[in-house]
Symmetry: C2
Subunit: 317 residues, 2 copies
């Protein structure tokens, strides 16, 4: 991959991004990669600051993520929150004992006045991760899901507590639109050699990052090729509620539908081979598209996908 | 025990008190007992408010204390603090995962504005404990140990981190002397039918309670007999650093030495049969004394000891 233009900056959400980045670090020097990570899912649970997307990306890159659950640490136990449950707390957000330690450390450091970016950097060093992770913002940016009855719920309540009901009417990212980009985000994007959009939920993972003022401008100013990976495989999201959320914002649940959302952002798009029939529609948007196997069953597939993405980027200069 | 004058109020420290109270609740209706508990050991660890004496008394009365360790919950795990250690935290204070939950709940409730007494009451109800536990004070009352070189350390640092060195020069309870008694403490003492001093460390467990303004006055105003149990067995403390601390305040490390510290407080004193030779010296202080087996190997011995204490109290009206 000698033709990869570094640094590579990836816009990242949760588990889909985590899996893709595990492949990417196999084909590009990890120190030349920066992930700008969604913090729209961040919330206080049990008194600690939880950053779900930062943590799953971190744990995955450290090789200690719980791959079955798609969140948390492999082999973690849940004694603390079970004990909190006995003391009357709601425990629908399953934060493991070691995962709690990460979040408690973050909370303590934030209370000491450290910024989320600095704390994230400390934690990723402690986990031995070479790839930089930048929170999209240090300001609170809760992504709010608006449901049928006008009920407004935090994304984690929607996803975890309520089981991702399908009656999504709108997604409110207004907090992100008023937030400042996190330290290093604009600089990283402006000086990027290649910009990737991970196969994450376009509405609630990539959407909040792009909603932060200055992010789109920095991407444009970089002059770098921007390539997205479709989070849709065979017409449906691999994991999570992207279908309800895409419908909620009036988008088609398809590789093509996601490409339309990204039309003003990306010049390249990798979709799954199962959605190959949509390739021409994507290209009609002025986006160069490639279809391959994007279902990252293991890190080998993820690395092969990363190679495809970078090769496509190389053709877009 | 029909002659027990209730309510019974017990001044309590840590493990010695916890063992004694487990016996006491077998011979007196637990709802007729109130323990006024030392909070001089309280400290923030890992961002949570730890109340070591309240918790060991609570866990013991709930039947779920770790009896081997003398602190924490039986079968607890230590994954959270081990993970905090990997993130750079000192972890000499071994707070288990479920124990952490108790402390985190306390911390969250305190942050919401609840008082330590109310929170303690919530927790003891959640643990199904019928005996009321009253923090001696809701104000911070750190017991400070002054060591040879003039070093001043919090009691938990002295005991746990430093392994209880013997060069104690003084014990600074000045924080307790400036604290307000906790809600209910003065009322409970004033209306007590019987007041007991548990076999706890006289210097750093009972000492801070007595140092809180109003506590001695309330005991005197009650007109109730006051009986202490010696924490010394065979000339040495059963557990903990009472010897260094007694020497540090110029007291003799003996049943007799502890009785002298309590001379202006108690009218009755139960010492261990192994220290029987000191009984006459104790009585010469104007204290009625009895010697029995005070080594609480099991709850049966503790219950028998409680019966002896209450019988002695009954003779002192």
């Amino acid at each position: 991959m000698s033709s990869v233009r570094t640094p590579v900056v990836a816009l990242a959400g949760g588990i889909g991004a985590a899996r893709f980045l595990r492949g990417l670090v196999r084909v590009v020097d990890p120190t030349q990669i920066t992930a700008v990570v969604n913090t729209g899912d961040d919330r206080n649970f049990y008194g600690v600051h939880v950053s779900p997307d930062i943590d799953i990306v971190l744990y995955s890159l450290a090789g200690c993520a719980d791959r079955e659950k798609g969140f948390g640490l492999e082999g973690d136990t849940f004694r603390l929150i079970e004990a909190l449950g006995a003391l009357g707390h709601e425990t629908w957000f399953r934060l493991g004992d070691r995962d709690f330690a990460t979040c408690q450390h973050r909370t303590l450091r934030l209370a000491e006045g450290a910024g989320l970016a600095a704390v994230t950097d400390e934690i990723r060093r402690a986990f031995g991760v070479a790839t930089k992770l930048l929170p999209m913002s240090e300001d609170p940016c809760p992504s709010i899901i608006v449901l049928g009855a006008g009920t407004r719920v935090h994304f984690e309540e929607y996803l975890v507590r309520d089981g991702a009901p399908s009656d999504v009417e709108a997604v409110d990212l207004s907090a992100a639109t008023r937030a400042a980009p996190g330290p290093g985000v604009v600089d990283a994007l402006r000086s990027a050699g290649t910009i990737l959009v991970c196969p994450s939920n376009p509405v609630v993972s990539i959407g909040p990052i792009l909603a932060v003022p200055g992010v789109r401008e920095a991407i444009a100013a970089s002059g770098a090729p921007v390539v997205a990976v479709s989070p849709i495989v065979g017409g449906a999201p691999v994991k999570g509620p992207a279908d309800a959320l895409l419908r909620g914002v009036g988008a088609e649940v398809s590789a093509r539908g996601v490409a339309r959302l990204y039309a003003d952002l990306v010049s390249g798009y990798v979709l799954d081979q199962r959605d190959h029939a949509e390739l021409a529609d994507v290209e009609s948007l002025g986006i160069r598209a490639v279809s391959v196997d994007t279902l990252m069953r293991d890190v080998g597939v993820a690395a092969e996908l990363a190679r495809t993405v970078l090769s496509l980027a190389d053709t877009l200069r």
